[in-house]
Symmetry: C2
């Protein structure tokens, strides 16, 4: 869990994401990243000539790709995929981490947004791209479950927004209450949206 990536460069990006999601961007030093990644300090300026800004941007990009891939993996693992079931999986990922490893970490994309959106344009853009990639993966999953096309993106935004907010509250409270709450409240709503594609139209109900 600590250092598993293949090259030192990848390990540093991964470690940066891990430290950022725990302490925020401002409190995460480059030297700490090198130590955490068990990488030589001299490699920092070699792999990341753009400095901290580049390292943070890549960590955010990595987090976005990771979140999007996780959605795809959840979809593949769900026996009977439903929107509420997917959301429950996404939320449960966090409740399990918090119950097993404590409330030390949040979402690195959220941290980058809070700490750098106003001051570093490239990082703000990286966070925006990460959210977009994540949202796209969720929206595609919703479409595969029969959610009408024009409702996929709004619902995906609602899911990710609620999850991010619940993560914040959970960390502050040191309780998974907010996470389980949004999952329980939103699940039926999401499933209802999926059912609306076949309910009002008895004719073309059976797609695929």
């Amino acid at each position: 869990m600590t250092v598993s990536g293949r090259g030192p460069r990848e390990r540093m990006v991964f470690s940066a994401a891990q430290l950022i999601r725990r302490d925020g961007v401002g409190s995460t030093g480059m030297r700490s990243v090198a130590v955490h990644a068990q990488a030589p300090r001299g490699s920092l300026q070699h792999y990341f000539p753009g400095g901290k800004e580049q390292l943070v941007d890549e960590a955010v990009g990595w987090a976005g790709r990771y979140a999007a891939g996780r959605v795809a993996r959840f979809m593949a693992a769900l026996p009977e995929p439903t929107p509420g079931g997917l959301f429950d999986r996404m939320v449960r990922q966090w409740t399990e981490e918090y119950e097993r490893q404590g409330f030390g970490g949040g979402c690195p994309v959220a941290a980058a947004t809070v700490d750098r959106a106003a001051s570093v344009e490239s990082t703000r853009g990286a966070a925006s791209a990460a959210f977009a990639e994540w949202t796209g993966a969720v929206a595609r999953a919703l479409a595969d479950m029969g959610v009408p096309a024009d409702r996929c993106e709004p619902l995906a935004t609602l899911m990710i927004g609620s999850l991010e907010g619940a993560i914040l509250i959970a960390r502050a409270e040191r309780s998974v209450r907010a996470l389980t709450t949004v999952s329980r409240e939103l699940g039926p709503v999401l499933d209802a949206a999926a059912g609306e594609s076949v309910r009002p139209r008895p004719k073309g109900a059976a797609d695929e």
Copy 2:
């Protein structure tokens, strides 16, 4: 808008909240707070002997009280209060700020959580208290609108969580899209909960 509080002490707390919500806790220096509040630097150690930790905690507390009071004001101003209407007001507060003044600021409680929840216990507690105060105000408003008692707190958590997440996404995207989306999607759901006081509950989530 810049400095309006009565005493220098209050101005510094207010300025701290403003700077924190823009740049995060880590990037907000004490000297900058004093300058922004047009307060003498020497007053910092006088009014806040607990140092930055105390100042941040008080800023978070102020933000929580402010958010809770805002909910009460919204309720008083709404001609026909409905849960969806209240949520729309809460969201609109942010869309209007972003459209008028740009996407420079987020929620100070969220910033404090991201930057300090893992490292400073007192600040984590202050953020938790702020969320609790805010949630309590919303839950009370929901109860006044006829929402069943056992659904007020979960729905309030859902509202605040969605709002916080949408704020994050909006800042990253420099667009109010996520904010208007969560308002549009959640509004009908919240209003439906208010009408259910005499009707059967929605499909209960299968708890394990």
